[in-house]
Amino acid sequence: MHNFDFVKPASVADAVKALSTEGAQPLSGGQTLMPSMKQRLAAPSVLVSLTGIAALQGVKVEGRTLTVGAATTHATVAKEAAAAYPALAKLAGGIGDPAVRNRGTIGGSLANNDPSACYPSAVLGSGATVVTSRREIAADDYFQGMFSTALEEGEIITAVRFPIPDRAAYAKFDHPASRFALAGAFVAKYAGGVRVAITGASEGGVFRWTEAESALSSNYTADAVKALSLDPGGMIGDLHGTQAYRANLAKVMVMRAVAAS
């Protein structure tokens, strides 16, 4: 690991200021960035810790909206969102392993946008709003492909606002060693229709499966998806699974999520 400085501001404004330093990078739970630095895949000269900012912590429910502070850990979301949004809580409680859940945060996961991460599917599948230090970004605009997002240089996620659906569930098929999803599906049913977001499967990162959305909007059963198929073309193909395997697995995960919700 290369040398770096570490600062821990107490407010979003101070964090934004610290991030204007050349080579500075925000650090949340550090479950991806720290190992990356140790493997010399990343070498920021200053890490700006976001864990000391009280405004970025906690889960809040107001009416049919659940707001999660960006530096809230997966373990906290698993506990505190359980009553208001059980599908989200269950997803958070299944990320990685206990050590990852005790440190990793929703903001960190979304800023990284790993193509196999769980959270992006919940955010896109819920049509959530990503709130940042500068603006509010709709989930549909936020995710822009593998490891890339609408976030600009020095912009920090402060919270995520989820509209609470009538029914929802997340189903994933995880790799037994890495615990990342080989394919995961988040399905959420709202008065206005059903949203389906797939993670883990596509070269382009998390995406909405609109065909499944319309089928489920008129008939919310696992069978409604059965005849559909995803194009294996853009899927991830690697030693863990071929493109065709992932395309089919994603569909199976959608069916399981519908059956479970």
Binding site: F4, D5, F6, V7, K8, L27, G30, Q31, M34, P35, K38, Q39, L47, S49, T51, G52, A75, D97, P98, A99, V100, N102, R103, R179
Partner: protein, 158 residues
């Protein structure tokens, strides 16, 4: 009198005692424990959050100390290492480990024990599936079956 401009000597709470440590703010907790405080029960395995040998508790939750920077720890947070798990090695996990001879070489075991202790407090009556899903530390001797038996025995002893 010479005063260093940004003198950084944070206080952290380890095993119930507040201690002032002299280390750079970005130092991983693992090295603060081992090198500054001499608590060498916590082991260095991979350094990249993959193996779990460095597992300690922060406020009762299992974390990988190689990934936690000193300055990210608040003075009020309670760090527990293998040395502080119990004053007399009588934690149910430790008793079960002794009873069933869980370790082989032993290197990963303080991490295994800390992970198991945090797990057991959350799952007092664990199933095999709970244990498999939550015990993710690596053991190159392959003591996984004995770890599972040890956790179940500890649940009986609790």
């Amino acid at each position: 009198v010479y005063v260093e401009e940004d003198l950084y000597m944070p206080t952290i709470n380890v095993n119930g005692t507040s201690v002032e440590v002299d280390a750079e703010p970005e130092t991983p907790l693992l090295w603060v424990l081992r090198e500054q405080l001499g608590l060498t029960g916590t082991k260095y395995g991979c350094g990249v959050a993959a193996c779990g040998a460095c597992t300690v508790h922060i406020d009762g939750a299992a974390v990988r100390s190689c990934q936690v920077q000193l300055q990210s720890i608040g003075a009020e947070e309670m760090i527990t290492t293998i040395e502080g798990l119990s004053p007399d090695r009588s934690h149910p996990i430790q008793r079960a480990w002794l009873e069933l001879d869980v370790p082989q070489c032993g290197y990963c075991q303080s991490g295994q024990i800390m992970a198991a202790a945090a797990f057991l407090s959350e799952y007092p009556e664990p199933t095999d599936e709970d244990i498999r899903a939550n015990m993710t530390n690596l053991c190159r001797c392959g003591t996984y079956n004995r770890i599972m038996a040890g956790i179940k025995r500890a649940a009986e002893l609790t």
